[in-house]
């Protein structure tokens, strides 16, 4: 049915709601990229098969729903049961018949499938009670994991397009702008530019043709919130864009999606087709007289295309090279016409802001950073996954209460935020409330919300080098400070990790960093020194160890590190099985020995040793040992 009026939309909403209520018992199978990788599709199919076979769909009204990402990817495939709110983790397809038998028909819980809290080892049956979920407040991700992203009616039953209907029929474009301004929302892509100010600046630009773009080129390694939003609730992105277009008087929009996100493209495309069919997109939206079209453009796989001017060039079919920022894209953007570009998460929040009011959004967060923010909590942390929290939540709360602490209870070393433009934040700043300003003050930045937790087995010189190598590869090469600065800096880091560092290297790095910050054309180059400078600021002694002692304190840099097995080894053979060079000798139940000549210092043995009997020591000490 094509919606021709506000009343018709309300009728559709009521229908969708009724359909949802008619089936209160649901099995939600997470089918985000993470869970799909561990076999979620097979699990969903097995449930459908089992439920239909036993006639439960007709008799009890049971429904199986494939949803977007529940966020708790590491425990996938995840299956939730409604209305009980029960959550099973790591569900395998072969266990589905047993689950249907015991849990659905027998109404008993299978303890082995429940989530086990790593903090107190207790198993928790209810979704809502799991600390990972309990502490979240979801705005942009409000419907992810609750709806079937390929089903428009399901989305509408969960308030999708309600904000759009309100904007189109009850508000003028200027009122929409005022409401967004009241919310205080800032760009979720990283830089944190005020959304309303960006829109106003575009609206004030002369001309009749303007564009609304969505930046789905989530390039920061370690961040995947935009992927999950596009995959799990594509309608929230469309709704936000249509509202934005209405406020700005734009009729053409594009979503630029990373080529590495194939499922996001499929779900967005389907959402666009469905929305168009129902009159929620295209000509005369909901009979309001407002027209707006959205197209999808797949990126070519270049990190720099997340930068606004590069993205617009890429959309125009060109190489993604940024331009100087004195020309604002709100005035001269795509095809040199006024353009608003916002991040996926920014757009996803707009519908909720209009539906619930700007004041509601502004009531959350800190003074300058309003609302909630999505983060991907990954790295060496127990509960990895996707979370959304009010701005101002402390890092400690995120890592320890939600994340459950550092993996294997190793000592915490740093948390990296902001991707290659961000920095590493040390333990002494764990009580930092997370918002745009506080992260920048700490020498990092918000970026796209990646939070990578690092333990004592992480070398900070290696981390900084990792980002430099990443950026050297991704620098578009247009301006010299970025292209050459990165290359030279990387050469110094290569020397450091190979034990060829010299006194004065740190100073040389700092000089290069200052030059890049001053002289680079775009933010990629300007912010490239952040990982370097933040690790230098907080972990300088580690650099000095590399230079002066030719040692890597974390035991990561291979040219500087040797391994040995301590006498408490119980000879379990775990290490010999994983050693890629077969350099560990020793009979079962007897002390093992590493052949230093053949060892490549990869650390595979250390990671698997159940008794923690393998230790690293500086390679320079090896010579002394051999003499003894």
């Amino acid at each position: 049915m094509r919606i021709e009026s506000f009343d018709q939309f309300k009728t559709l909403q009521a229908e969708a709601g009724k359909r949802d209520e008619a089936q209160p018992k649901k099995i939600l199978v997470c089918c985000g990229t993470g869970c799909l990788a561990t076999g979620a599709k097979e699990v969903a199919e097995a449930f459908v098969h089992e439920i239909t076979e036993r006639g439960l769909d007709v008799e009890v009204g049971y429904g199986v729903k494939s949803t977007g990402c529940h966020g708790f990817c590491e425990r996938g495939p995840l299956v939730a049961f409604l209305p009980e709110g029960l959550l099973y983790t790591k569900v395998k397809a072969k266990r589905v018949p047993e689950i249907v038998e015991k849990t659905i028909i027998g109404e008993t819980i299978i303890p082995g499938l429940l989530y086990k809290n790593p903090v107190d080892k207790k198993r928790i049956p209810a979704y809502e009670e799991i600390p990972f979920y309990k502490n979240q407040v979801r705005v942009a991700m409000r419907n992810i994991g609750r709806i079937d992203p390929t089903d428009l009616m399901d989305a509408i039953a969960h308030d999708a397009y309600a904000g759009l209907a309100k904007a189109l029929f009850e508000m003028t474009p200027d009122e929409v702008l005022d409401e967004v301004e009241l919310s205080g929302q800032r760009g979720r892509g990283g830089a944190g530019f005020n959304t309303a100010r960006k829109w106003r600046s575009c609206k004030a630009a002369p001309g009749d043709r303007r564009f609304v773009l969505c930046n789905g080129d989530e390039g920061d390694p370690g961040a995947f919130k935009d992927r999950s939003i596009m995959e799990g609730d594509p309608h929230s992105v469309l709704e936000g864009m249509i509202i934005g277009a209405y406020a700005l008087g734009s009729h053409e929009g594009w979503i630029y999606v990373r080529d590495e996100y194939p499922l996001a493209v499929v779900h967005l495309q389907l959402a666009i087709t469905e929305a168009r069919k129902h009159g929620l997109l295209g000509e005369n939206i909901m009979g309001s007289g407002f027209d707006f079209e959205i197209q999808i453009s797949r990126g070519g796989g270049a990190f720099v295309c997340g930068e606004s001017s590069a993205l617009m060039r890429s959309l125009a079919g060109q190489t993604g090279e940024p331009r100087a920022k004195y020309v604002h894209s709100t005035e001269k953007g795509l095809f040199d016409l006024p353009t608003v570009l916002n991040n996926v998460e920014t757009w996803a929040g707009i519908g909720a802001i209009i539906a619930n009011g700007g004041a509601w959004f502004a009531s959350m967060g800190t003074e300058k950073s309003k609302g909630t923010k999505a983060f991907s909590l990954v790295g060496k942390v127990k509960n990895t996954g996707l979370i959304e929290l009010p701005m101002g939540t402390t890092l400690r709360h995120i890592i320890y209460d939600i994340g459950g602490g550092v993996l294997k209870d190793r000592p915490f070393k740093a948390v990296q935020t902001g991707g290659p433009s961000g920095g590493c934040i040390p333990e002494e700043l764990l009580d930092l409330p997370v918002d745009y300003e506080k992260l920048t003050e700490a020498g990092s930045m918000m970026g796209s919300g990646g939070m990578i937790v690092m333990d004592d087995r992480t070398c900070m010189v290696d981390v900084a080098r990792y980002f430099l190598a990443f950026l050297t590869e991704e620098s578009c090469g247009k301006c010299v400070p970025c292209r050459e600065g990165l290359k030279q800096m990387l050469a110094i880091y290569d020397a450091l990790i190979e034990g060829r560092g010299n006194v004065g290297d740190i100073e040389r790095i700092e000089t290069l960093a200052a030059g890049m910050q001053l002289g680079s054309l775009c933010e990629l180059g300007k912010s490239a020194p952040n990982p370097v400078l933040s690790t230098l600021k907080y972990f300088r002694s580690e650099y000095e160890a590399h230079i002066v002692d030719h040692a890597c304190p974390a035991g990561i840099c291979r040219d500087l590190t040797a391994f040995e097995i301590m006498p408490d080894c119980d000879g379990c053979h775990a290490c010999t099985k994983v050693c890629p060079t077969d350099c560990i000798a020793g009979e079962k139940k007897e002390l093992h020995v590493i052949d230093h000549e053949a060892c490549i210092s990869c650390g595979a043995c250390l990671d698997v040793c159940p008794t923690d009997s393998i230790r690293t020591f500086p390679k320079v000490e090896l010579a002394a040992k051999e003499v003894v």
Binding site: P221, G299, G301, A316, Q318, G385, Q416, E473, C602
Partner: protein, 160 residues
């Protein structure tokens, strides 16, 4: 230019027919071409440049700028090892090394029999399951070098 093209251009014509013949279509067309041929053959680039009315030099520039494009034929199965931060600190480098030992090729290389191409990619956004490796369409989370044979064979369920 009189030589016969060495690839079948009919697929290219089909792709070109589905896009407006203008510069903004270039990247989308190249992506479809890449999918159809598994790389960007030279003759196709010439044809794309002509039809879209974009200088060949520009088509070449775009083809070499983006990571998604290759000018060399790719292996039948593409192995992508994620090099995102989370994967890096959880040992993605060891996966690449193991592939090198098993297949005799490094990153961005293709086996002589055109069976495998190994690529390193910048974060596939599945960081919670780091390190991640994708063999063909199949994602392997918490990938371990010791299980490489299984990943390459493409079969079996993940154990944990």
């Amino acid at each position: 230019m009189a030589e016969q093209p060495c690839v079948d251009l009919s697929k290219t014509e089909e792709i070109l027919a589905s896009y407006p013949h203008e510069e903004p279509s270039l990247i989308q067309v190249l992506q479809d071409v890449h999918r159809a041929y598994n790389y960007l053959p030279c003759d196709v680039l010439v044809r794309v440049a002509m039809v879209l009315d974009v200088p060949l030099a520009k088509v070449f520039s775009v083809s070499t700028f983006y990571k998604a494009f290759s000018l060399e034929p790719q292996g039948e199965t593409i192995i992508k090892v994620c090099m995102g931060t989370a994967c890096h600190i959880r040992g993605a480098g060891q996966l690449v090394e193991e592939l090198e030992r098993k297949l005799g090729i490094g990153a961005e290389e293709t086996t002589e029999d055109l069976q495998f191409t190994v690529k390193t990619v910048n974060c596939v956004g599945a960081c919670a399951m780091a390190p991640v490796m994708i063999v063909g369409e199949k994602y392997w989370g918490s990938a371990k070098p010791a299980r490489m044979e299984k990943y390459l064979a493409g079969g079996g369920e993940d154990e944990d």
